[in-house]
Structure formats: structure tokens, C-alpha cells
Symmetry: C2
Subunit: 420 residues, 2 copies
Amino acid sequence: MMRPTRNGAQLITNTQGSAPGTGPQPADFTDVRATNLAVVLRFVRENAPCSRADIAASTGLNKATVSSLVADLIDRRLLRETGLTENRVGRPATMLVLDGSPYAAVGIEVNVDYLTAVAVDLKGEALLSWRRAFPGGSASSGQAVAGIAGVARRVVTRMTKEARQVLGLTVAVPGLVDLTGSVRLAPNMGWRDVDLAGDLAKALRDPGFPVLVDNDANLGALAELRFGPHSGVRDLVYLTGEIGVGAGIVLDGRLRRGGAGFSGEIGHIEIVPGGPPCHCGRRGCLEVVAGLGALLDRTVPGGVSPAELEPEIDEVVQRAEAGDPVVLDLLDTLAGNLGRGVGIVANLLNPEVVVLGGYYVKLAPWILARAEQEMLARALAPGGGGCRLVVSGLGYGAAALGAAARVLDSVDSGRLPAPA
Amino acid sequence: MMRPTRNGAQLITNTQGSAPGTGPQPADFTDVRATNLAVVLRFVRENAPCSRADIAASTGLNKATVSSLVADLIDRRLLRETGLTENRVGRPATMLVLDGSPYAAVGIEVNVDYLTAVAVDLKGEALLSWRRAFPGGSASSGQAVAGIAGVARRVVTRMTKEARQVLGLTVAVPGLVDLTGSVRLAPNMGWRDVDLAGDLAKALRDPGFPVLVDNDANLGALAELRFGPHSGVRDLVYLTGEIGVGAGIVLDGRLRRGGAGFSGEIGHIEIVPGGPPCHCGRRGCLEVVAGLGALLDRTVPGGVSPAELEPEIDEVVQRAEAGDPVVLDLLDTLAGNLGRGVGIVANLLNPEVVVLGGYYVKLAPWILARAEQEMLARALAPGGGGCRLVVSGLGYGAAALGAAARVLDSVDSGRLPAPA
DNA sequence: GTTTGTTTGGTCGTTAGACGAACTAACTCT
DNA sequence: AGAGTTAGTTCGTCTAACGACCAAACAAAC
């Protein structure tokens, strides 16, 4: 096969610390190396187990180059040689896999009622998954930071006991997070201008790994991209289905955060002009007409307490299963409104997939078809421009998983740990 | 000054012709060279006239490297040496500028009523700007292709007479254009599944330069990015204000076209549920409640003919200037609806700027303030997340200018003409 | 004028690292 | 055993960035 002519894409360059707006950075030999290391690492992640020859054949890199790159990755303990192939013509190949043992990526998701912590290895396999109650809505931000730091420390010591090096920690927050990792506004948590990334780094005092903070919907989208069944999809939108509704937007394979990091605030798009009032002060927001709060307010007498969200959703599910016409009608209305929101996304962004997450997953049997139909009816492009509406298979803690995935992404895109 | 540590961005690699979904391509020395050539070219574009020493100091590239890169660019006739600096301590610098004379980039915009063709040199300075009536709405697609090809040929021969080499041709179309340059749906033109890029390339028979087709709003956004007063902005949305309303979405410095190329169809987002019917079959679309057709339908007795759009807009402007309460009220309503659409964009994408183009420019004095206020009221992020609503200064033919800009962009991102 | 200092831009040798070809290793098949 | 096949390594080549040095060309100070 001919080596394909390659022309026009992108390589990893060093842009850290340069003034913004300076334009793209010049490239270096080290950039070539970093790019190719990342290419090999990603290839093995997606095709393990595979041989050096496989890598060379598929990526177009020279066999000699692949050998050198693989040796480097083995030095950094990112790859490991496993057995040989047998019963084949020719010299048997030594197979390569990601080395799962030396590293860990940590993700923590905080929410109004609970906190989820996960750690995964380089392969993305779960090492640890904790879930505990968390008084996010009532505690002060200082107490919250202390609580998160405490959990983070426990996860890190646990990983250290297993002889793993923590590559990074990312925290998912339901709210507006700016590009520095500071939480500008998290209404459900009662936070405003909390420099969570900075405070956490301080509380962990020189942790030796990067501490990042991001929006929960953004990280949910990353989780779907890495762990969901969407191989090859480069344009995806993830919708959280918690008390609020947020969107994580992936276009051309990367999260798009907007100018200040505040993209994806679909929950406060006006869907029903003059509709029911939202806690944000506006009316008819998607969150009010297609969120869970509104649903539960009408099915559960006496209002909803965040801490009791899950059992109440379960009750709705039971009543729907039993055929309760009131609940079915409410779900149908919710689905219609949700579909209108998804239609807006389909028209504006033309994603290949929109993934429903959070509690929407449990409600899917009663809302998915209607919502998809509504979306298709509203999209200008025939067939919705190829946009599919699907349900997340990741369950709760998708954002925590995505937070860990963000750490792995930074490795995949060239930020490798140093060799031993 | 210390050389800044560079880490984590991206380099131009060769991705042409490789299977999609293969993941990022490996890098090569030629990629480093291409990246650095592009870096120098862009630097000179933004800082001309400047010396080699300036380039080295600002980009961090080595002086020797810059000399080599500049020599290469001069060989390719992209840069030119101009006079020396005087009256300064030290050896005078030889200044470098973009060479405007050897090349041309061509953009053509087709619309319902007219066709605009522009050619610009490497600096982005206009070489030619034609506007002529074009029966886009009534002609068959075959006739339209022939007409466009005819204009393109005339532009090319004109450029050839000026001893310029045409680097590329891009055509802007108001409609859904897929990623191959095929027009899937252009309701106002009456087109469906027209392989415009292919047909044009055929009609021009081996033109020796790439022929591309893109959506008019996308190209309007590119025009704003390059020629508008938005230096350093990386997240921008451009709204066309023609018969239809479309959005061009730039995030992180590049156009985002969505999975099939159909992003930006803001015109058919439902703004007023149950509102007036739209020609697309739905009701209350942004296009109907904030587009020009709706405005003119109510101000001009007897309906609107596309060919007479401009004088009718002018009449609306005159009546607004005269203080006609009916017109002012209609404009205020339009502005409110437009602002709701912009609010959706601000919430979902958090751009730094939303630019109003097309005929919105003429109406700006009566709609801008109200629309911005409406947008700010609807954005969840305080202050709209920093989003500003502004008016385009590029006038008509912004899409044609953007079409030419797309050609320049491909040069800027590494696809350089061969040396003489 | 002469000297000194400063800045520009080019030359030369070094070095990182990808590539191609040749080579060795290890297996299967006949 | 020999032929054929595939895997991975070694070695030399080549591209292109980098650092150090140098000559040229000027202003300012003397």
C-alpha cells in the first residue's frame, strides 16, 4: 500500500505560557516527537493488543520510528509488552498493551446532594468508585472545598498505596466555570466566584499533579466520547438531566467552551415564552419545562428536596410503568419540550449524536421516541442532518468519569509523564 | 527576555487523503517546516512591515531559522523585501511585507437576486469587485452552474492578464452545503442535491486551483474574522440578514461546521411557538419573526420580490428615519425576536462577539440596542458571558469576501504555492 | 575623523529525530 | 533442511532547527 499523502492537519506544539493572541506557536523537533508519541499511544489504546508492525502499517510511520517511539513509551511505563502471537506464518509479533498498573487519573463530581469520586487507570478501567452524600447545596464554599480536598487526599493515598502515580485530578461542578477553573456561578450549589481550582490546589499543597475544574456537562460529553459507544464521532452534545439541564458541546473532536468557558447553558434557553417561572428569574426556560424539578413538583406532593431526588424519580418510573395517565401525560409534555431544545441544538450545531444523561436515562422509555420525533420535525436539514438522539449508558457519575477522562486526554494529547 | 516554554498546542500535519476516523496523523519534518512557514507568514501579515529580527524576537524562533524561512517565502513570492529602516542605532533592518502582486484569491457569492465576485491579493486588498444581477431563484441549477463558471472564468483571465496566479476559488451559497461542497438544500435558490463543487470543477476543466463551496453564513464569519475589527477574537458568530437568516459559527478560531456541514441553521429555530407560518412548513421560525421578508411583507403592500429587496429596505429605513410609528414598532418587535435568537446563541456557545450582517446593518440604528438588551436579559452568565452584539462593517458581499478569505486561510495554514 | 556600542542578518557546525534499506530473528510450510 | 514470511533492529542519510560566531552598517561619543 502506498503511504498516504498527508497534508493539512495538526501537530502538538508547545503553547504553554505564551501570551494569548500571539497566534499559533512555531514548531520544533520535540513537537514532532510529542505528536508521534501521542499517535502511537492513541493507536494502542484503540487497537490493543497490537504489534509494532501493526502500528507502522496503520499510522504510516516508519518501522524504525515506531520502534523508537515504543521504546520511549515503555520507558515512561505507558506501554507494556505482553505475549507473542503464535501459529502464524513468519516471525511472531510481540504484542503491546497499555500498561494499566503505574498510573491513575482521578475525577470528582460534586452536586447538590452527592459527591462521586472515581479513579481509572490508563486503559480507562475503573480502579475506584466512591459515592457519598454531600451537602453541596447547604454548605459554604469553604466547607465544600475542604470536603472535596479531603476526598481527593483519600483517593490519592489509596492510589499511592497501590503504587500508582496520580496523573491529575479534575473536578466537575454544575455551574459556570471559567477557563481558569474558577466557579463564577453555580446557582444550585449557592456558589459565586469561588476559585475552586486554586483553593483545591492550595488545600492539597503542591500535589505534584494538575488540578482542574470544569463544568459537569462538558465532562459528561468527554466521558461519552471516550467511554460511550460512539467510536469515530467528532461532533457530540451531551445533556445532563439533573435538577438543572446543561449541555457539553464537542465539535471536531474537542470540547468547545466558548470565549469565557460558559458555553452549553441550554437550561436557560426560553422554550415556552411566558411559561412557568424559573429560579433564574426568567420564564419558560428549558430547565423548567423539561427538567426534573418541574416533573417532580407536579408528581410529588409537597415539593422536592434535592437529597431525595432519586427515590422520587423511581416513584415516577413506577407510576409510568403502571400506566398512570397523569404521569404519562407529564412525561410526554416533558419529552416534547426536550425535543424542542434538542432541535435547537441540531439546527445550530448539527452534531452527529445528542446523548441524554443523568436521570433522563431512567425516563428514556417514555421520552426518547417523542423527543427524537420532535427534534426531527424541527431540524431544517432532512433527517435532522444525521443527528441521532440516544441515551447514555454510563449511568450516574458520568461527569466524574469524564473528569478522569480529561486527565487521560491530556496524556493522549502529548503531556506524558517523564521516564523513570 | 527568556524564550517562553512552549507546551501543548498544535502543529500543521498532513491529513489529506487519509481515512476519516483514523485519528490524528503522525508528524514529519516537513510538518515542522510547514508550520513555521505559516507562523512567519501570519506574523508578517499582522505586523508588516517588520524585520527578520522582529520575527525571531516575537515568535521565539531562532534567527537563523527565521532567515531560512523568510528566504523560502521570498522564493515562493509570498514575501518581499522593502526599504531599510533609518535613523536608528545599529545596523538598519531590511523590512519585509507580504508580496501583493503575484497571487489572487477569488470568492464568489451567489444569492437569490445577485452574484458578487471579488478577488483579493495576499494582503487581503481588493483587486476586483463585481456585482451583477443573477436569476438564482428562477434558473435551473445547471444554468446557475454555467453562469457561475462563466464569471469565474472571466475573473481568472482578468487575473492572468495582471500576471497573477489564482490560488483558489470559493463559492458562497445560501443553503445547506455538505462537507464535500455539494449543496444539499437551498430553498431560496430552489436547489436540492447539486454537486456544485464538482460541477464547477468540471466546467472549469482542470483549473489548477482548488474549487470549494461553502455556506454563506460560514464565509461571512470568516470575513469578519479576517477583515473585521475583532483582532484576537477566537469565538465569533456571524448572522446573515438576507431573505433568510443563517449563522456562521467560529469557535476556538476555526469554523465549526457540524457532523455533516449543516451547522448554523438558526433561521429555523422556533422563536414564537405557534407564530406565523414559515415557507419551511414550520411556524414561528426566527427567519419569519426576525427576518427581512416578514418585515417587508408588512411594510410593502403586495408582497416582496427578491429582486427588489434593496430599494424596499431603503424605503423602510426612510420611514424609520421619518419616525413612522408603524415601522418603528415593527422594527422593535423584530429586534426583540432577533435578540431572543442571539440570546440562545449566547447561552449555548458563549461567543465573544455576535456580528449582524447583511441588511441588518442598515437597520442597526433601530434594532441593535433592543436586540442586545434582549440578549443580555436572556443570557444566564452575568453580562452575557462577555458577549457583545455588533454590526458588520463589511457591507454587502461579506460572504464573497469570506470566500476569498477561505482561500487565504488555506495558505496561512500551510498550503503554500511552490517556489518558482 | 576615530572609536565604541548596538543591531541586523548570515554562515557554520551541532543535534534531534524521521526515514529507507539492509539485516537478523523466529516462525510455518513443503 | 530449505524456502518463504513476517517482526523488529541497526545503520547511514537527510531535513531542518538551534547556538555560537561574525561581518556589515549604522549612531553616538570622543
